[in-house]
């Protein structure tokens, strides 16, 4: 039972990650591999504000979102001077720099030792401990954040973003302010990644830089690649497949030494076959890259 609840919590963490990245990648056509960096900045900011300053968790969450947004504003301003492959490479660079800073700025982040003893959230006097309580918390977090993202998807902002994705020159010729719309999308995508970051930190109560690597960024992007981007259904399908498939493989009875490798091979094959048959992902409406 606890095992299933753990998976539900993880789904609850990856859904807002996928749906927030979807705003930049699926709607704006801005393929970024820096999402784990923003997820990590959110997790670290939240954890440090709790352990170091002793802030109230909700205030710490708000501050973590704000800090992530400010860093994204700086990064986005630079990255959005470029499009396509070059944009991708700038986000790649930012992802790597963030990891190096988390790993080496021992004075702030405790580097490779990570931050331990992150306080568990207290709701109405009840300290959340059990997987069931966290599953409920994750559900509440999703119920609060996803509607905000969906509102962006269908708003005039979302339409303008899609128009820019489809044809930037034509969108500009209709009076759409490309810089303004793009930077908002980039910052919001990052800011929303801070929320699952805080959720993750408070769930595992220990974070270190290895959770926020380039590999993790690629994993989140692969969720969209697989499930599909640019709408509401694609990220859900991607999260379910990417998280449930490896769990399903546990029960196939492969020897332990083989299981992990098999998982990677199946991922790789799945992506390769899918890109050949359905480049927009299973349920996507936009072909990335």
């Amino acid at each position: 039972m606890n095992y299933i609840l753990h998976i539900l919590v993880m789904i609850g963490i990856y859904l807002p990650l996928a749906y927030s990245l979807n705003l930049a990648v699926g709607f704006g056509g801005l393929l970024s591999v820096a999402h784990a960096a923003f997820y990590g900045i959110g997790a670290y900011a939240y954890s440090l504000l709790l352990t170091g300053v002793g802030m109230h968790p909700l205030i710490a969450l708000g501050a973590a979102i704000l800090i992530t947004a400010i860093i994204a504003l700086g990064t986005g301003t630079i990255a959005l001077r470029f499009r396509g492959d070059l944009f991708l490479f700038v986000t790649l660079g930012f992802q790597m720099i963030t990891f190096v800073i988390l790993y080496n700025w021992v004075g702030l982040t405790r580097g490779p030792y990570g931050i331990a003893g992150i306080p568990r959230p207290v709701v109405f006097g009840l300290t959340l401990r059990t997987p069931l309580q966290y599953a409920v918390l994750a559900a509440v977090v999703n119920a609060l954040t996803l509607p905000l993202l969906f509102a962006l998807y269908r708003s005039p902002f979302g339409k303008a973003l899609k128009a820019l994705r489809e044809n930037e020159t034509a969108a500009k010729a209709l009076g759409i302010n490309d810089k303004r719309i793009f930077i908002q999308a980039f910052v919001l995508a990052a800011a929303f990644a801070a929320i699952p970051g805080a959720l993750y930190a408070s769930y595992v109560t220990y974070i270190d830089p290895t959770s926020f690597t380039l590999k993790e960024s690629i994993f989140i992007a692969a969720i969209l690649l697989l499930g599909g981007a640019g709408n509401r259904i694609g990220p859900l399908i991607g999260v379910l497949i990417m998280l449930l498939l490896p769990e399903g493989l546990r029960f196939v009875g492969l020897p332990d030494a083989m299981a992990h490798n098999m998982r990677e091979i199946i991922y790789g094959l799945m992506l390769a076959v899918l890109m050949y048959l359905r480049p927009q992902g299973i349920a996507g409406e936009y072909r990335m890259g």
Binding site: K162, K172, L174, N177, D178, Y286
Partner: protein, 253 residues
């Protein structure tokens, strides 16, 4: 005459090659002005320069008494100048309705936070825009394709959609880059009728770049003949089309 678009000594250089050089021309308000000339004469470059996509290396552009040159494309659009592209550039992944709607929404309404703090008045306004958009779609005859993705339309239908997009945004000056290229004769008739109507009933000003001389002869009030990046000849339609050297340089007649 203050509302005229005035091109003052426009020059645009790509490396050592001057695509436009010393272009002086005026586009009278409420009329159709055609820029004609052989391939490579600089017609599309001129539209890019007016629309702000390219920055002129020399000269200035004035519209409604203000200088246009040097401001970004979306600002040019906000001043009432709309641009149609030779390769139409509809938003393939958007529905026909959204293609028209997306440019109509005023800038303040496009900011992200509006999605969360929309007032009732703003929502009412949105519905009004949607109704207006639908009216324009009916106007160009795409009412049966409202919910279709633009990429699923035929090329001719996409041209009609791009006209609807321009009309709906309420642009006062339209830069049309070969609006009738690559479509059927029936569709050409439809498109020229739409342009004619915009000018005659709504007082829209049109800059027309067109290779189809029948269309130019039918629509244009004034013609500038471009040759190797310069205005070689300007005048009223009959004057230019009847000119012997123009006919020789361009039409090989």
């Amino acid at each position: 005459m203050n509302n005229n678009l005035i091109l003052n000594n426009i020059g645009k250089r790509f490396g050592d090659f001057w695509a436009l050089r010393g272009v002086r021309a005026s586009v009278p308000s409420g009329k159709i002005t055609a820029f004609i000339g052989p391939n490579g004469a600089g017609k599309t470059t001129l539209l890019h320069v007016i629309a702000g996509t390219l920055r002129p290396d020399e000269g200035s552009i004035r519209y409604k008494g203000e200088t246009l040159s040097g401001i970004p494309p979306h600002e040019v659009a906000r001043r009432g100048i709309g641009r149609q592209f030779q390769d139409v550039r509809v938003f393939g992944g958007l529905t026909v309705l959204d293609n028209v709607l997306v440019g109509m929404i005023p800038h303040g309404q496009q900011d992200a936070y509006r999605a969360w703090f929309g007032t009732r008045a703003a929502r009412k306004l949105m519905r009004k825009y949607q109704e207006k958009a639908e009216e324009w779609i009916v106007h160009v005859g795409l009412q049966d394709d409202l919910k279709r993705y633009a990429r699923d339309l035929s090329f001719g239908q996409q041209k009609l959609l791009s006209m609807a997009r321009l009309f709906a945004c309420g642009f006062e000056l339209l830069l049309l880059d070969e609006p009738t290229a690559g479509v059927s004769p029936k569709m050409i008739g439809k498109i020229t009728a739409l342009i004619r109507e915009a000018v005659d009933t709504r007082g829209v000003t049109v800059v027309l770049v067109e290779h189809n001389m029948a269309v130019v002869a039918e629509l244009a009030y004034w013609i500038h003949f471009l040759h190797e990046g310069r205005v070689a000849f300007s005048g009223e339609r009959s004057h230019v089309l009847g000119n012997k050297s123009v006919r020789q340089m361009y039409m090989g007649l």
